[in-house]
Symmetry: C2
Protein backbone atom coordinates (compact mmCIF):
# COMPACT_ATOMS: atom_id res chain seq x y z
CA UNK A 1 0.00 0.00 0.00
CA UNK A 2 1.53 3.27 -1.14
CA UNK A 3 0.58 5.24 1.93
CA UNK A 4 2.56 2.93 4.21
CA UNK A 5 5.91 3.84 2.65
CA UNK A 6 8.22 5.47 5.16
CA UNK A 7 9.15 8.16 2.63
CA UNK A 8 5.50 9.21 2.56
CA UNK A 9 5.76 9.89 6.29
CA UNK A 10 8.86 12.03 5.70
CA UNK A 11 7.16 13.89 2.86
CA UNK A 12 4.16 14.66 5.05
CA UNK A 13 6.36 15.88 7.87
CA UNK A 14 8.46 17.96 5.46
CA UNK A 15 5.42 19.61 3.89
CA UNK A 16 3.94 20.30 7.33
CA UNK A 17 7.23 21.82 8.53
CA UNK A 18 7.27 24.28 5.64
CA UNK A 19 3.58 25.16 5.90
CA UNK A 20 3.49 25.61 9.69
CA UNK A 21 6.60 27.78 9.50
CA UNK A 22 5.21 29.98 6.75
CA UNK A 23 1.47 30.09 7.44
CA UNK A 24 1.18 29.05 11.05
CA UNK A 25 -0.74 26.24 12.71
CA UNK A 26 -4.32 27.47 12.35
CA UNK A 27 -3.63 28.65 8.82
CA UNK A 28 -2.49 25.23 7.65
CA UNK A 29 -5.04 22.54 6.78
CA UNK A 30 -4.36 18.82 6.50
CA UNK A 31 -5.64 18.86 2.91
CA UNK A 32 -3.00 21.39 1.95
CA UNK A 33 -0.33 19.30 3.70
CA UNK A 34 -1.42 16.20 1.78
CA UNK A 35 -1.37 18.13 -1.50
CA UNK A 36 2.09 19.60 -0.92
CA UNK A 37 3.41 16.20 0.22
CA UNK A 38 1.85 14.55 -2.86
CA UNK A 39 0.42 12.01 -0.44
CA UNK A 40 -3.09 10.57 -0.14
CA UNK A 41 -5.10 12.44 2.50
CA UNK A 42 -5.70 9.25 4.48
CA UNK A 43 -1.98 8.60 4.77
CA UNK A 44 -1.72 11.48 7.26
CA UNK A 45 -3.90 9.61 9.74
CA UNK A 46 -2.08 6.38 8.91
CA UNK A 47 1.23 7.85 10.07
CA UNK A 48 -0.18 10.34 12.56
CA UNK A 49 -3.25 8.80 14.22
CA UNK A 50 -3.50 11.88 16.45
CA UNK A 51 -4.02 14.01 13.35
CA UNK A 52 -2.91 17.62 13.06
CA UNK A 53 -1.88 17.95 16.70
CA UNK A 54 0.38 14.89 16.63
CA UNK A 55 1.87 15.97 13.32
CA UNK A 56 2.52 19.45 14.69
CA UNK A 57 4.14 18.07 17.83
CA UNK A 58 6.55 15.98 15.75
CA UNK A 59 7.30 18.94 13.51
CA UNK A 60 7.97 21.22 16.49
CA UNK A 61 10.30 18.75 18.20
CA UNK A 62 12.14 17.61 15.07
CA UNK A 63 12.55 20.95 13.30
CA UNK A 64 13.24 22.64 16.62
CA UNK A 65 16.12 20.28 17.38
CA UNK A 66 17.48 20.59 13.83
CA UNK A 67 17.33 24.36 13.94
CA UNK A 68 19.20 24.44 17.25
CA UNK A 69 21.92 22.23 15.77
CA UNK A 70 22.18 24.46 12.72
CA UNK A 71 22.61 27.62 14.78
CA UNK A 72 25.28 25.95 16.94
CA UNK A 73 27.12 24.82 13.81
CA UNK A 74 27.00 28.40 12.53
CA UNK A 75 28.38 29.69 15.82
CA UNK A 76 31.18 27.11 15.72
CA UNK A 77 32.20 28.02 12.17
CA UNK A 78 34.02 31.19 13.24
CA UNK A 79 36.81 31.04 15.86
CA UNK A 80 36.18 34.38 17.60
CA UNK A 81 32.95 34.25 19.65
CA UNK A 82 31.94 37.87 19.10
CA UNK A 83 32.48 37.60 15.37
CA UNK A 84 30.65 34.29 15.26
CA UNK A 85 27.55 35.87 16.81
CA UNK A 86 27.53 38.58 14.14
CA UNK A 87 28.11 35.89 11.51
CA UNK A 88 25.18 33.76 12.73
CA UNK A 89 22.73 36.68 12.53
CA UNK A 90 24.07 37.63 9.10
CA UNK A 91 23.53 34.04 7.93
CA UNK A 92 19.96 34.15 9.25
CA UNK A 93 19.41 37.43 7.36
CA UNK A 94 20.86 35.94 4.16
CA UNK A 95 18.67 32.86 4.44
CA UNK A 96 15.57 34.94 5.13
CA UNK A 97 16.07 37.14 2.07
CA UNK A 98 17.00 34.12 -0.10
CA UNK A 99 13.66 32.50 0.78
CA UNK A 100 11.69 35.71 0.11
CA UNK A 101 11.20 36.29 3.86
CA UNK A 102 9.51 32.94 4.36
CA UNK A 103 12.00 30.85 6.33
CA UNK A 104 12.67 32.22 9.77
CA UNK A 105 12.30 30.32 13.05
CA UNK A 106 10.54 26.99 12.42
CA UNK A 107 8.44 27.12 15.58
CA UNK A 108 7.84 30.73 16.65
CA UNK A 109 4.58 31.31 14.76
CA UNK A 110 3.09 28.09 16.09
CA UNK A 111 4.44 28.83 19.57
CA UNK A 112 2.56 32.12 19.75
CA UNK A 113 -0.61 30.62 18.27
CA UNK A 114 -0.81 27.65 20.65
CA UNK A 115 0.48 29.28 23.85
CA UNK A 116 -3.03 29.77 25.20
CA UNK A 117 -4.97 27.20 23.22
CA UNK A 118 -3.16 23.84 23.00
CA UNK A 119 -1.33 22.52 26.04
CA UNK A 120 0.39 19.60 24.25
CA UNK A 121 1.87 21.89 21.61
CA UNK A 122 2.68 24.64 24.10
CA UNK A 123 4.75 22.18 26.13
CA UNK A 124 6.51 20.99 22.97
CA UNK A 125 7.53 24.55 22.03
CA UNK A 126 8.61 25.25 25.63
CA UNK A 127 10.82 22.15 25.63
CA UNK A 128 12.42 23.12 22.32
CA UNK A 129 13.21 26.61 23.63
CA UNK A 130 14.57 25.11 26.87
CA UNK A 131 16.83 22.85 24.79
CA UNK A 132 18.12 25.85 22.86
CA UNK A 133 18.77 27.78 26.07
CA UNK A 134 20.69 24.83 27.54
CA UNK A 135 22.82 24.35 24.43
CA UNK A 136 23.40 28.09 24.12
CA UNK A 137 24.41 28.31 27.78
CA UNK A 138 27.05 25.62 27.18
CA UNK A 139 28.34 27.47 24.13
CA UNK A 140 28.58 30.84 25.90
CA UNK A 141 30.15 29.18 28.95
CA UNK A 142 33.15 28.40 26.74
CA UNK A 143 33.81 32.15 26.57
CA UNK A 144 32.33 33.58 29.76
CA UNK A 145 33.35 32.10 33.11
CA UNK A 146 30.17 33.16 34.96
CA UNK A 147 27.52 30.46 34.39
CA UNK A 148 24.59 32.80 35.14
CA UNK A 149 25.97 35.26 32.59
CA UNK A 150 26.30 32.46 30.03
CA UNK A 151 22.66 31.49 30.62
CA UNK A 152 21.48 35.10 30.27
CA UNK A 153 23.42 35.43 27.03
CA UNK A 154 21.80 32.27 25.66
CA UNK A 155 18.32 33.52 26.57
CA UNK A 156 19.05 36.94 25.13
CA UNK A 157 20.40 35.58 21.86
CA UNK A 158 17.33 33.41 21.31
CA UNK A 159 14.96 36.22 22.27
CA UNK A 160 16.53 38.94 20.14
CA UNK A 161 16.75 36.50 17.20
CA UNK A 162 13.05 35.65 17.54
CA UNK A 163 12.12 39.32 17.75
CA UNK A 164 14.35 40.18 14.80
CA UNK A 165 12.56 37.56 12.71
CA UNK A 166 9.22 39.18 13.56
CA UNK A 167 10.42 42.65 12.52
CA UNK A 168 12.42 41.52 9.48
CA UNK A 169 9.56 39.45 8.09
CA UNK A 170 7.03 42.23 8.72
CA UNK A 171 9.18 44.89 7.03
CA UNK A 172 10.68 42.56 4.40
CA UNK A 173 14.02 44.02 5.43
CA UNK A 174 17.07 42.17 6.79
CA UNK A 175 18.24 45.22 8.78
CA UNK A 176 16.58 44.24 12.08
CA UNK A 177 18.51 40.94 12.02
CA UNK A 178 21.79 42.80 11.47
CA UNK A 179 21.03 45.23 14.31
CA UNK A 180 20.17 42.25 16.52
CA UNK A 181 23.50 40.61 15.68
CA UNK A 182 25.44 43.74 16.61
CA UNK A 183 23.54 44.15 19.88
CA UNK A 184 24.11 40.52 20.78
CA UNK A 185 27.82 40.89 19.98
CA UNK A 186 27.88 43.92 22.28
CA UNK A 187 26.29 41.96 25.11
CA UNK A 188 28.82 39.17 24.71
CA UNK A 189 31.74 41.61 24.59
CA UNK A 190 30.52 43.28 27.79
CA UNK A 191 30.09 39.92 29.53
CA UNK A 192 33.57 38.79 28.50
CA UNK A 193 35.09 42.06 29.72
CA UNK A 194 33.26 41.79 33.03
CA UNK A 195 33.54 38.11 33.89
CA UNK A 196 36.82 37.46 32.22
CA UNK A 197 37.31 35.17 29.30
CA UNK A 198 37.43 31.55 30.40
CA UNK A 199 40.85 30.02 29.72
CA UNK A 200 40.84 27.39 26.97
CA UNK A 201 40.12 23.97 28.39
CA UNK B 1 -31.14 49.72 14.31
CA UNK B 2 -29.11 48.16 17.10
CA UNK B 3 -26.22 47.16 14.92
CA UNK B 4 -25.57 50.74 13.82
CA UNK B 5 -24.70 51.91 17.33
CA UNK B 6 -21.14 53.19 17.56
CA UNK B 7 -20.56 51.22 20.77
CA UNK B 8 -21.27 48.03 18.84
CA UNK B 9 -18.34 48.91 16.59
CA UNK B 10 -16.12 49.42 19.62
CA UNK B 11 -17.30 46.17 21.16
CA UNK B 12 -16.49 44.27 17.95
CA UNK B 13 -13.05 45.85 17.73
CA UNK B 14 -12.39 45.15 21.41
CA UNK B 15 -13.38 41.51 21.12
CA UNK B 16 -11.29 41.10 17.96
CA UNK B 17 -8.28 42.71 19.66
CA UNK B 18 -8.41 40.20 22.52
CA UNK B 19 -9.01 37.19 20.28
CA UNK B 20 -6.34 38.03 17.67
CA UNK B 21 -3.83 38.66 20.44
CA UNK B 22 -4.59 35.39 22.22
CA UNK B 23 -5.47 32.98 19.41
CA UNK B 24 -4.00 34.61 16.32
CA UNK B 25 -5.60 35.69 13.04
CA UNK B 26 -6.31 32.32 11.44
CA UNK B 27 -7.47 30.89 14.74
CA UNK B 28 -10.13 33.57 15.22
CA UNK B 29 -13.45 33.34 13.39
CA UNK B 30 -15.91 36.19 12.85
CA UNK B 31 -18.64 34.18 14.58
CA UNK B 32 -16.54 34.00 17.73
CA UNK B 33 -15.86 37.73 17.51
CA UNK B 34 -19.60 38.45 17.21
CA UNK B 35 -20.33 36.18 20.19
CA UNK B 36 -17.67 37.74 22.42
CA UNK B 37 -18.77 41.23 21.38
CA UNK B 38 -22.43 40.31 22.04
CA UNK B 39 -23.15 41.79 18.64
CA UNK B 40 -25.25 40.46 15.76
CA UNK B 41 -23.06 38.66 13.21
CA UNK B 42 -24.21 40.99 10.42
CA UNK B 43 -23.06 44.05 12.35
CA UNK B 44 -19.43 43.09 11.68
CA UNK B 45 -19.95 43.63 7.95
CA UNK B 46 -22.01 46.74 8.68
CA UNK B 47 -19.04 48.38 10.41
CA UNK B 48 -16.29 46.55 8.54
CA UNK B 49 -17.45 45.99 4.94
CA UNK B 50 -14.04 44.48 4.15
CA UNK B 51 -14.74 41.74 6.70
CA UNK B 52 -12.07 40.03 8.73
CA UNK B 53 -9.14 41.65 6.90
CA UNK B 54 -10.43 45.18 7.42
CA UNK B 55 -11.25 44.45 11.05
CA UNK B 56 -7.76 43.02 11.58
CA UNK B 57 -6.11 46.02 9.94
CA UNK B 58 -7.96 48.38 12.27
CA UNK B 59 -7.08 46.23 15.27
CA UNK B 60 -3.40 46.12 14.29
CA UNK B 61 -3.13 49.87 13.78
CA UNK B 62 -5.22 50.89 16.80
CA UNK B 63 -3.91 48.41 19.36
CA UNK B 64 -0.38 48.81 17.98
CA UNK B 65 -0.45 52.57 18.51
CA UNK B 66 -2.00 52.18 21.98
CA UNK B 67 0.59 49.61 23.00
CA UNK B 68 3.44 51.86 21.87
CA UNK B 69 1.99 54.73 23.94
CA UNK B 70 1.65 52.46 26.97
CA UNK B 71 5.28 51.31 26.78
CA UNK B 72 6.50 54.90 26.41
CA UNK B 73 4.43 55.93 29.43
CA UNK B 74 6.01 53.07 31.41
CA UNK B 75 9.48 54.20 30.35
CA UNK B 76 8.70 57.78 31.38
CA UNK B 77 7.43 56.75 34.81
CA UNK B 78 10.95 56.23 36.22
CA UNK B 79 13.55 59.06 36.08
CA UNK B 80 16.69 56.95 35.50
CA UNK B 81 16.71 55.49 31.96
CA UNK B 82 18.45 52.22 32.85
CA UNK B 83 16.10 51.60 35.76
CA UNK B 84 13.11 52.52 33.63
CA UNK B 85 14.03 49.84 31.06
CA UNK B 86 14.17 47.20 33.80
CA UNK B 87 10.88 48.55 35.18
CA UNK B 88 9.13 48.35 31.79
CA UNK B 89 10.09 44.69 31.31
CA UNK B 90 9.05 43.88 34.89
CA UNK B 91 5.68 45.54 34.23
CA UNK B 92 5.28 43.44 31.07
CA UNK B 93 6.10 40.31 33.09
CA UNK B 94 3.60 41.27 35.81
CA UNK B 95 0.87 41.92 33.25
CA UNK B 96 1.59 38.63 31.46
CA UNK B 97 1.32 36.57 34.64
CA UNK B 98 -1.75 38.51 35.82
CA UNK B 99 -3.54 37.59 32.57
CA UNK B 100 -2.50 33.91 32.81
CA UNK B 101 0.08 34.37 30.03
CA UNK B 102 -2.51 35.60 27.54
CA UNK B 103 -1.77 39.30 27.06
CA UNK B 104 1.59 39.93 25.47
CA UNK B 105 2.23 41.97 22.31
CA UNK B 106 -1.09 42.77 20.62
CA UNK B 107 0.22 42.26 17.09
CA UNK B 108 3.14 39.77 17.09
CA UNK B 109 1.13 36.59 16.55
CA UNK B 110 -0.79 38.12 13.65
CA UNK B 111 2.43 39.65 12.26
CA UNK B 112 4.08 36.23 11.98
CA UNK B 113 0.96 34.60 10.55
CA UNK B 114 0.36 37.18 7.81
CA UNK B 115 3.98 38.00 6.87
CA UNK B 116 3.86 35.70 3.86
CA UNK B 117 0.13 35.47 3.24
CA UNK B 118 -1.62 38.85 3.48
CA UNK B 119 0.09 41.92 2.08
CA UNK B 120 -2.38 44.46 3.50
CA UNK B 121 -1.96 43.13 7.03
CA UNK B 122 1.80 42.64 6.64
CA UNK B 123 2.17 46.32 5.73
CA UNK B 124 -0.01 47.31 8.70
CA UNK B 125 2.21 45.36 11.13
CA UNK B 126 5.37 46.76 9.50
CA UNK B 127 4.07 50.30 9.92
CA UNK B 128 3.23 49.71 13.57
CA UNK B 129 6.73 48.36 14.25
CA UNK B 130 8.27 51.29 12.35
CA UNK B 131 6.25 53.67 14.52
CA UNK B 132 7.54 51.97 17.66
CA UNK B 133 11.13 52.13 16.41
CA UNK B 134 10.76 55.84 15.65
CA UNK B 135 9.25 56.63 19.04
CA UNK B 136 11.81 54.45 20.80
CA UNK B 137 14.65 56.17 18.94
CA UNK B 138 13.40 59.55 20.18
CA UNK B 139 13.20 58.25 23.74
CA UNK B 140 16.70 56.73 23.71
CA UNK B 141 18.10 59.87 22.00
CA UNK B 142 17.25 61.71 25.23
CA UNK B 143 19.94 59.65 26.96
CA UNK B 144 22.39 58.70 24.20
CA UNK B 145 23.86 61.42 22.02
CA UNK B 146 24.61 59.14 19.01
CA UNK B 147 21.43 58.93 16.92
CA UNK B 148 22.44 55.62 15.27
CA UNK B 149 23.01 54.14 18.70
CA UNK B 150 19.59 55.40 19.84
CA UNK B 151 17.97 53.76 16.82
CA UNK B 152 19.76 50.45 17.46
CA UNK B 153 18.66 50.54 21.09
CA UNK B 154 15.04 51.10 20.03
CA UNK B 155 15.19 48.18 17.58
CA UNK B 156 16.88 45.95 20.14
CA UNK B 157 14.39 46.75 22.88
CA UNK B 158 11.42 45.92 20.65
CA UNK B 159 13.07 42.75 19.35
CA UNK B 160 14.15 41.35 22.70
CA UNK B 161 10.71 42.20 24.16
CA UNK B 162 8.97 40.35 21.31
CA UNK B 163 11.27 37.35 21.72
CA UNK B 164 10.81 37.37 25.48
CA UNK B 165 7.04 37.24 25.02
CA UNK B 166 7.46 34.16 22.80
CA UNK B 167 9.60 32.35 25.39
CA UNK B 168 7.65 33.51 28.46
CA UNK B 169 4.31 32.50 26.98
CA UNK B 170 5.65 29.13 25.82
CA UNK B 171 7.19 28.31 29.20
CA UNK B 172 4.48 30.04 31.28
CA UNK B 173 7.37 31.67 33.13
CA UNK B 174 8.10 35.41 33.51
CA UNK B 175 11.87 34.80 33.81
CA UNK B 176 12.67 35.36 30.09
CA UNK B 177 11.10 38.83 30.33
CA UNK B 178 13.22 39.66 33.37
CA UNK B 179 16.40 38.43 31.64
CA UNK B 180 15.45 40.52 28.60
CA UNK B 181 15.04 43.60 30.80
CA UNK B 182 18.46 43.14 32.36
CA UNK B 183 20.11 42.61 28.94
CA UNK B 184 18.42 45.68 27.54
CA UNK B 185 19.54 47.70 30.58
CA UNK B 186 23.07 46.44 29.94
CA UNK B 187 22.95 47.56 26.30
CA UNK B 188 21.72 51.01 27.32
CA UNK B 189 24.38 51.35 30.02
CA UNK B 190 27.09 50.42 27.50
CA UNK B 191 25.75 52.89 24.94
CA UNK B 192 25.60 55.69 27.52
CA UNK B 193 29.16 54.95 28.65
CA UNK B 194 30.39 54.94 25.06
CA UNK B 195 28.52 57.85 23.48
CA UNK B 196 28.23 59.97 26.55
CA UNK B 197 25.00 60.92 28.20
CA UNK B 198 23.28 63.73 26.39
CA UNK B 199 23.06 66.85 28.56
CA UNK B 200 19.53 67.71 29.71
CA UNK B 201 17.83 69.95 27.24
Amino acid sequence: MGQARPDTRLKIQGAATVLFRRNGYSGTGLKRIATEAEAPFGSIYHFFPGGKQQLAEEVIRTSGAEYGQMVLALLDSVPDPVESVVHAFQAAADHLTATDYADACPIATVALEVAGTDEVLRVATAEVFAGWVGAGEQWFARWVSDQDAARSLAYSMIMILEGAFVLSRAARDPEPLRVAGRSMAELLRTAIDRAGRRPNR
